[in-house]
């Protein structure tokens, strides 16, 4: 990604470590395979796309714990609930858009039944690229966030994906976690710690807070670097857990910066931006600008092209930050 590559070149960026060349889905698949001997209750369910979701690593390392369900996601989702009832920790893996197809199964057979199932979705957002609008899932965070008891996570880089995978195994209860299709830059340091429900401040700032998740975190860092050159001090929060959202970090940021930009590879309705707005409206109302897909469907193209075309890159985030600051200053 051009934006995050630029970010890597700036020395003031938050401990940027260079690219692993790994996608989030590959990072997830490798992590799960590596953790499997330690967590023997973990099993994997696949719907004929193990090669795409990263769990081909697990299939190879632990074939006796890998279960194939064919191209039938609704059944797979409910089966996972039943397997969890016998004490296993099932990971249901497919593309985000096909998780959307089985939302009602996730609701009844998993969340309402309070089953310890982990739904891990690759290929979210415009990051899907050439497959086009039908495959670019821009609604999954909204749908899964609306299910009671469902934890929703969208890690930022391959390292955080690795940490989040173990945290998700240890967590008791249903989880929906986004991975990603395209190569993702490593942006977090070896000292990074991931805790479900906790935001991490990648960069402190006093003028505006940029809250991002998933692939947008690297772009938010890019924007912060640009803003710094314009004399604007931007705080960057990596909100890897969209639900439950870190209300304390948001409230502190509201008091200390007074305005926000939210960034997500998702529709602006129902996702991270909505979650931030809901939290702030109840505690510390202040101006928010929403970077995301503006209630449209995607289309074919390379991920970087699409991010630019739909206004998700660093320059758009930086411009939104300036709008947020101007609105705050008018108050």
């Amino acid at each position: 990604m051009a934006s995050s590559t630029n970010a890597l070149k700036v020395e003031t960026a938050p401990q940027l470590i260079g690219s692993s060349g790994d996608s989030l889905r590959e990072a997830f698949g490798k992590a799960l395979s590596g953790l499997a001997d330690q967590y023997k209750d973990v099993v994997v369910l696949d719907a004929d796309i193990a090669g795409g979701t990263g769990v081909h690593h697990f299939r190879k390392s632990h074939p006796d714990r890998f279960f194939q369900f064919g191209i039938a996601e609704q059944n797979m989702m409910s089966v996972a609930g039943g397997m969890a009832a016998t004490g296993l920790t099932p990971f249901v893996t497919t593309f985000a858009v096909f998780c959307l197809r089985a939302v009602e199964q996730a609701r009844l057979s998993i969340a309402y039944s309070n089953r310890n199932v982990k739904i891990v979705a690759s290929h979210p957002g415009l990051d899907v690229g050439p497959d086009g609008g039908s495959a670019q899932c821009l609604e999954d965070i909204a749908a899964f966030r609306a299910i009671p008891g469902m934890t929703v996570i969208s890690p930022a880089d391959p390292f955080e994906m690795q940490l989040a995978t173990e945290a998700v195994i240890k967590h008791s209860g249903p989880v929906y976690m986004r991975t990603g299709r395209s190569p993702a830059e490593r942006i977090l340091p070896d000292t990074h710690q991931f805790e479900i429900g906790k935001a991490t401040m990648l960069r402190d700032g006093r003028d505006v807070t940029i809250v991002a998740c998933g692939v947008e975190v690297a772009r938010a860092c890019d924007a912060a670097n640009t803003l710094e050159q314009d004399g604007i001090s931007a705080r960057v929060l990596n909100m890897a857990t969209v639900k439950p959202i870190d209300r304390a970090a948001l409230q502190t940021a509201a008091l200390e910066t007074g305005c926000f930009v939210t960034c997500e590879d998702h529709n602006i309705y129902g996702g991270l931006g909505s979650a931030v707005a809901e939290a702030l409206a109840q505690s510390a109302p202040c101006p928010i600008e929403f970077i995301g897909v503006q209630d449209r469907f995607g289309e074919s193209g390379e991920p970087d092209e699409l991010a630019d075309y739909y206004g998700l890159t660093g320059p758009y985030i930086a411009a939104a930050a300036k709008r947020a600051i101007a609105r705050r200053n008018q108050q």
Partner: protein, 250 residues
């Protein structure tokens, strides 16, 4: 009701403490809307109190309008959206086999439920995985919410369809206790593939004004006269009926 009585009376042995036993046999009412029959069966077995029955569908009751496993562990999974309980039962059978628990899993499906595409995804997966510890039972009363199956969405040839999906299919009279027991025996003794028992039933069997009548599909509102007539039809003597009513009311 006859299927539930046979399953819980002969095939599955459960006590209250079995909710913590992962190796227990499990029953899933995939046609969750029939839960009043399930709750009555549990009450008869002492798994829940008879006194709790009148709280059915009331605020705060564990007897939800459709079975809810968080409130009632013996529900095994929450149901009420057709097709999902069957898939969850497959997950239980697969999980039990994977862990060598030795348990068997039973799922009761409605006939109208078979119109859900998920049922056939599930059927395909159960035979693919060779789940001989799974037994599905279809309550084939030929009626669904609005009308007869045949008028809404035809199901025949039903046994042929199940066999084509890789299942051992047995057709029985669902009100013949010996036939139900024999079919459950046959299912238990079948290796390598799951069994479906297609139980031909009459909705409301034994209650003259309910038999084969669609309007009673989703209604549990009974007048005192309705109750008296039903008890007469079921040949319950007045003293026994009064004992039951007293037990429920008190």
């Amino acid at each position: 009701m006859d299927i539930l009585a046979t399953l819980y009376g002969w095939e599955i042995s459960l006590t209250k403490s079995d909710t913590d036993n992962d190796a227990r046999d499990r029953f899933v009412l995939s046609k969750g809307h029939a839960c009043p029959a399930l709750y009555a069966t549990w009450a008869a077995l002492g798994l829940i109190s008879l006194q709790s029955i009148p709280t059915l569908r009331k605020l705060g009751s564990p007897l939800q309008g459709h079975p809810h496993v968080v409130d009632m562990p013996f529900a095994e999974t929450s149901t009420g959206s057709l097709g999902q309980g069957f898939s969850a039962a497959i997950g239980m059978a697969l999980g039990a086999r994977h862990q060598g628990l030795g348990s068997r899993v039973y799922a009761l499906l409605g006939d109208g439920e078979l119109q859900e595409g998920q049922v056939w995804e599930a059927a395909m997966s159960a035979s693919h995985h060779g789940l001989s510890n799974l037994c599905a039972i279809v309550d084939y009363n030929k009626l669904q919410s609005d009308d007869r199956n045949a008028n809404i969405m035809a199901l025949e040839p039903l046994a042929v369809r199940w066999r084509a999906f890789g299942w051992n299919a047995i057709e029985i009279d669902g009100h013949d206790f010996d036939a139900i027991k024999n079919a459950l025996d046959a299912a238990r003794n079948t290796d390598g593939l799951p069994t479906v028992i297609i139980a031909h039933t009459i909705k409301g069997k034994g209650v003259s004004y309910m038999e084969d009548s669609a309007p009673w599909h989703g209604s549990v509102k009974l007048s005192n006269d309705d109750i008296s007539r039903a008890l007469q039809d079921l040949s319950l003597d007045n003293a026994t009926a009064q004992d039951w009513i007293d037990g429920i009311v008190n």
